[in-house]
């Protein structure tokens, strides 16, 4: 798979790997990120504080590094939730067809009709504030796109010879779906999942920026950014650097997804 990736895809993969490496060493900066020094508040970037300091005198660079694993992990887990729910519903709709498909497709349509952020805000604000809530809220609002992907893939594959052979051999729907159809639908689902991760990271950042994301001690990039509007006239670095980290991460995942899509569609051609 990696060998088929175009050059940009490899760069994206390298950036994602680098981000996870930063996440791995981030505990080293934990002390620096939480050290409150009111005598050093809102300092512009300097050698001592490359990204400046925030309203409590904490080092923004250290805070951005420490937030890396939080943002990455929430993005990954939320995308996984979305993928599992989406695959379950989409695959069932595509495989069983008929009334099941009609009903499940309406369900997908219903969720797509809502502005995502409306549902997301209601879930995140009204459920107990915790990482689990954020992950569930994102997963439960973004699965329809995964479901549509899965439905289309299963619809294409369910009458191919290998699926018919499995059916003729007496395999049940669950076995056919999970053992035969799922592995073959994996490449396109991977594309959907990679887009899902970047989407989930953005969604978490938006929630934390609006103040209904992760509860206080943990802070993601969106959480750091939420302090920026109050100091917009004096501390531009509060907005620039955490957002840059967010932008780089989202771009890398999007680029990876785009390259995966190219690699899978080209591989499918004769």
């Amino acid at each position: 798979m990696i060998r088929r990736l175009p050059g940009t895809g490899r760069i994206a993969l390298a950036v994602v790997a680098l981000l996870w490496a930063v996440a791995a060493i981030s505990p080293l900066f934990a002390r620096r990120a939480t050290e409150i020094r009111l005598d050093e508040r809102l300092q512009a970037p300097s050698l001592a504080h490359p990204f400046g300091t925030d309203d409590l005198g904490r080092d923004v660079a250290a805070r951005v590094v420490v937030a890396t694993p939080i943002s990455l992990a929430i993005g990954l887990v939320a995308a996984a939730v979305s993928l599992v729910v989406g695959f379950g519903i989409g695959a069932a709709a595509g495989y069983f067809g008929g009334t099941t498909d009609l009903l499940l497709s309406r369900l997908i349509e219903v969720v797509l009709c809502f502005p995502v952020l409306f549902l997301l805000l209601a879930l995140a604000a009204f459920l107990p504030p915790s990482p689990a809530t954020v992950v569930l809220a994102i997963g439960l609002t973004t699965w329809p796109s995964d479901a549509r992907y899965a439905r289309a893939e299963i619809l294409k594959a369910k009458n191919l010879d290998y699926a018919r052979a499995a059916r003729a051999a007496g395999a049940g729907p669950a076995r056919i779906l999970l053992r035969h159809l799922l592995p073959n639908a994996l490449p396109p689902l991977l594309v959907s999942a990679a887009f899902g991760v970047s989407w989930a990271i953005l969604a978490e950042a938006a929630l934390s920026f609006l103040g209904v994301g992760l509860p206080a001690p943990a802070s993601s990039w969106g959480g750091i950014l939420s302090a920026a509007p109050a100091y917009i006239e004096e501390a531009w670095w509060l907005a620039l650097f955490p957002g840059l980290a967010l932008f780089a991460t989202v771009s890398a995942y999007n680029l990876l997804a785009e390259s995966l899509r190219q690699a899978t569609t080209e591989a499918g051609r004769p």
Partner: protein
């Protein structure tokens, strides 16, 4: 044609029902309802006995589930969204007040999205892998990955704080100037929020236009048009783009929920008194009737827009009618 219309409308009924049910489920996250688990912020919230009593009366929260549901359906059918907990006024009135500000913002954003996305998408898709296609792909990709609140903060920093060209936030200056100066003042306040909403949907839509034009451009009728001696430009706009237009029309309805989502963030950052801000404020102040009313409105409007787009597409394209 009639058969297609009837079928499309019939399919919308279960979706509409689903929207009403989903909002009904949201209601169960509210305090005093059986759905709120112990330990959740809602259970722990010190909701006054009066508010609890009101929720109970308004939504019948002490009644069994089927009865609650029938009551909810009955209220929705009468367009009775209840009263706001915050200022006791009907929810419909508060929505009507905030609607114009959001319509102006989103209407302009939609206009600029189409005005930019269509020419860019057609030009890029007209020569796939050409220099313009490659350059625009990079720009659109960057815009697509840029968080809207970050873009808003950067634009504010650059254009309002550093250069002082545009106001930081609000609808108009205080006191608002009159006459020509007043219009200019309003436009200056619109510039940044409209830009933020536009670039986000622009990146999404231009890629769709490009994909549609690339696909239509490789078909025989475009080759035939070129063979007949039409210029590349004519072949592109008259034949390729027209054929790519139909699927795009049906996708237009789906831009709406995205714009409304963006409105929540943009209206918050730019202190814009529209529906997005009303929704967010209502979430924070736990004004459930307003939250439910706006959710319902958002879902139903999108459904109506997709329905209208599908019907418009069917009227223009006979193939759609016959295949249905």
């Amino acid at each position: 044609m009639t058969r297609y219309l009837v079928r499309r409308l019939l399919l919308a009924i279960p979706t509409l029902f689903g929207i009403v049910v989903l909002v009904f489920l949201l209601l169960h996250l509210a305090p005093g309802s059986p759905g709120v688990a112990a330990g959740s912020p809602e259970a722990g919230r010190r909701v006054s006995a009066a508010a609890r009593e009101e929720m109970r009366k308004l939504y019948g929260l002490d009644r069994p589930l089927p009865e609650r549901f029938v009551k909810w359906i009955g209220r929705v059918a009468r367009f009775d969204l209840g009263e706001s907990f915050v200022d006791r006024r009907p929810v419909s009135e508060r929505i009507r007040e905030a609607l114009p500000a959001t319509l102006v913002l989103n209407g302009l954003a939609l206009f600029f999205t189409l005005a930019i996305a269509v020419p860019v998408g057609v030009a890029a898709g007209g020569r796939p892998e050409g220099p313009f296609d490659r350059a625009s792909a990079v720009v659109l990709f960057a815009l697509y990955s840029m968080p809207i609140f970050w873009a808003a903060l950067l634009l504010q920093t650059l254009l309002s704080v550093e250069l002082g060209w545009l106001p930081l936030y609000g609808v108009s200056s205080d006191p608002a100037p009159t006459g020509i100066a007043g219009i200019a003042d309003r436009l200056a306040h619109l510039a940044l929020p409209v830009t933020c909403l536009t670039y986000a949907s622009l990146a999404f839509f231009a890629r769709l236009v490009r994909a549609g034009v690339v696909e239509a451009g490789s078909q025989d009728f475009v080759t035939a048009a070129l063979a007949r001696g039409l210029s590349r430009r004519q072949a592109l706009w008259r034949h390729a783009f027209r054929n790519a237009l139909l699927p795009l029309v049906t996708l237009l309805g789906l831009l709406l929920p995205g714009l409304l989502s963006g409105s929540v963030i943009v209206e918050r950052i730019f202190a814009w008194p529209g529906l997005g801000r009303l929704y967010f404020d209502s979430i924070l102040s736990r004004d459930y009737p307003v939250v439910l009313g706006l959710s319902l409105l958002g879902g139903v409007t999108t459904l109506a827009a997709t329905l209208a787009a599908d019907i418009a597409a069917a009227i223009v394209d006979p193939r759609l009618r016959e295949s249905a």
